[in-house]
Symmetry: C2
Subunit: 413 residues, 2 copies
Amino acid sequence: MAQIIATSPLARPMPELGSVRGVRLQAMAAGIRYKGRTDLVLAEFTPGTTVAGVFTQSKCPGAPVDWCRAILPAGQARALVVNAGNANVFTGRAGRETCEATARAAADLAGCAPEQVYLASTGVIGEILPAERITAALPALHAALSDTGWESAARGIMTTDTFPKAAVRTATLGGAEVVIQGMAKGSGMIAPDMATMLGFVATDAALPAPVLQALLAAGVQKTFNCITVDSDTSTSDMVLLFATGAAGNAPLATTDIDSAELAGFRAALNDVLHTLALMVIRDGEGATKLMTISVSGAVSDASAWRVGMAIGNSPLVKTAIAGEDANWGRIVMAVGKCGEPADRDTLSVSIGGVCIARNGTVTEGYDETPVVAHMKGQEIDIAVDLGLGDGCAKVWSCDLTHGYIDINGSYRS
Amino acid sequence: MAQIIATSPLARPMPELGSVRGVRLQAMAAGIRYKGRTDLVLAEFTPGTTVAGVFTQSKCPGAPVDWCRAILPAGQARALVVNAGNANVFTGRAGRETCEATARAAADLAGCAPEQVYLASTGVIGEILPAERITAALPALHAALSDTGWESAARGIMTTDTFPKAAVRTATLGGAEVVIQGMAKGSGMIAPDMATMLGFVATDAALPAPVLQALLAAGVQKTFNCITVDSDTSTSDMVLLFATGAAGNAPLATTDIDSAELAGFRAALNDVLHTLALMVIRDGEGATKLMTISVSGAVSDASAWRVGMAIGNSPLVKTAIAGEDANWGRIVMAVGKCGEPADRDTLSVSIGGVCIARNGTVTEGYDETPVVAHMKGQEIDIAVDLGLGDGCAKVWSCDLTHGYIDINGSYRS
């Protein structure tokens, strides 16, 4: 089973978390898969809480993804139940029944309808998730709910993660100071497509569900959807954003997320999403280096993103980074292979701010020394300019090391 | 630099190679990059030899790919020069000049036009390939040409390959027995898109260039284009097929490659291409297991191919195979992520002929024992039925091991 994995060298300390008015939560050890660690999280939201969500684009989504997608249009949330260790994916009718039983049990405790209970599961695929392990644990968990349970919850949703991931920001909205606080988990099977493994963010702002949804979708596009550990998009990806309204801010005058009224909130939310997404990469399975890939000069932003992801997903680029080898030829290979418009003779490649190659050949007098020094650091910057247009994107990835093989080549990790 | 790499456990012995009438070839050590090993190959073809070629779809192709593409429409070949150790890619004008100088030097020796000389290079990207190392070596190499030089040539084109790759078949065509004999190299940066790293096949059959081209393009589609080691399509992929006509077969009555007249030849050619392509996977960097992925029930053959490649490229599937873990949930993940039409509830997954999951959940009474035994073997069979249509495809890949990281994480391997 799972071996001891050392904390990622790229880990970030847990920030000091406060509470989010209208949210109480807690984690406990329910023995779902792991022994001697917390693996079940319950959060309860004050009545009137709105919700937004983005989900994996996988054609084989887990039962909890189906459940959340089905209840999201109502835009109302009263509870969230998350378990780690078993993803409840490819479990057929048993998986659906586990969702229904879990939602019913949580709804009874929270005094709401089952359709106001959000569910998320992460862990092994294809094994039946026994509902009774969860429903039996929920009453004690509900009794222990606390507005200071955030750190405990961030630990309770971990699987192969080596450190808990959380972020908090504040903003001013409608005359009130509001808090945005969130957590995420994810380490392997990370190449989100509309969301990543699991992310849960709550704010005490009062925001209508459609506005919340637009803010989340836009924010995820430039954060969680721009990270990759191993190109393997999960069946369970989900980011949920809850707004309790407890801050008592004035109602919005607009529903336009580009409005000045929402600018501060939006920036703070995007910063939370960005911070959480980067923590997932910093905890990429086996990662020792964080790669930031900036693509410019593409024919469109979407094209730039695909070029960036091709670089970030290339096993040969990732192993070169692991080996501290400024093997820029592999970056050229990745640009060339990805099927996006590119012209060898207008392409430039930089590493660590040093332009190595431009216009189809190595830069005259290229001195590898500063690039070699940069490669020895923990944060590697790669910049590619395609020289074709104004499209740009930024993508984050990590290196591919023996650690990844250790973690994923062991029996049913 | 390159470390000693043990021969792949999946290696196949060199078949007994004969000669191909009309072809003389030889390899020698020209000191292009490697010390103490052959790295330059010259082949000369009898006047009248026709040629077909398929090339990488990379947007950053090497100079030799550009060269060959430009001369291919004439359909005539008199010589082939291949070097290992330097791919002559992203080398700008210097790269083009090296091609021109090499072709001129070989043309002088063969008594032909430079536009009848085919060129291929494989190795590191972005370093200038010094033409003089090649042109200085060519006269001695030309003097040593022999119709028994095939094995020497198969070794001379290797880079990180751990064993030489060749195949030979015979067929009857136009009343004559003809030979089809070829070699390939490739181990990493293998996810061919119209061709693989380098493959060279010759026959003594007399075939017009357009027929040869149609046969090669069709053959590659089901062989070289269905293999992947690491999803990284090379800048230098190329398969060339030469037909010397020395067998003296009667001219074709048709140019239709589906005709009965060509059936035997086509089957033998496809068998050569298939054998060479599988040898590349058997020599995949770090490979210890050969994965055969059969996809059926897709909406089209192209869709089935993309599903198969998503499974074959998934780092999580590949590490599970390395760990001998029948982690079929990762196969479900790969099917789900690839964007092709798929329905979780009609999907079946088998490993080693055992149906593990069907209709969206694990098979009732699934006993893992025979699957665990299958996973310990060297050849792993994965079958996925999407349950949607008649599309099918077969794809080959290998596992992802510490060996891959060792080979590619070392400095400028």
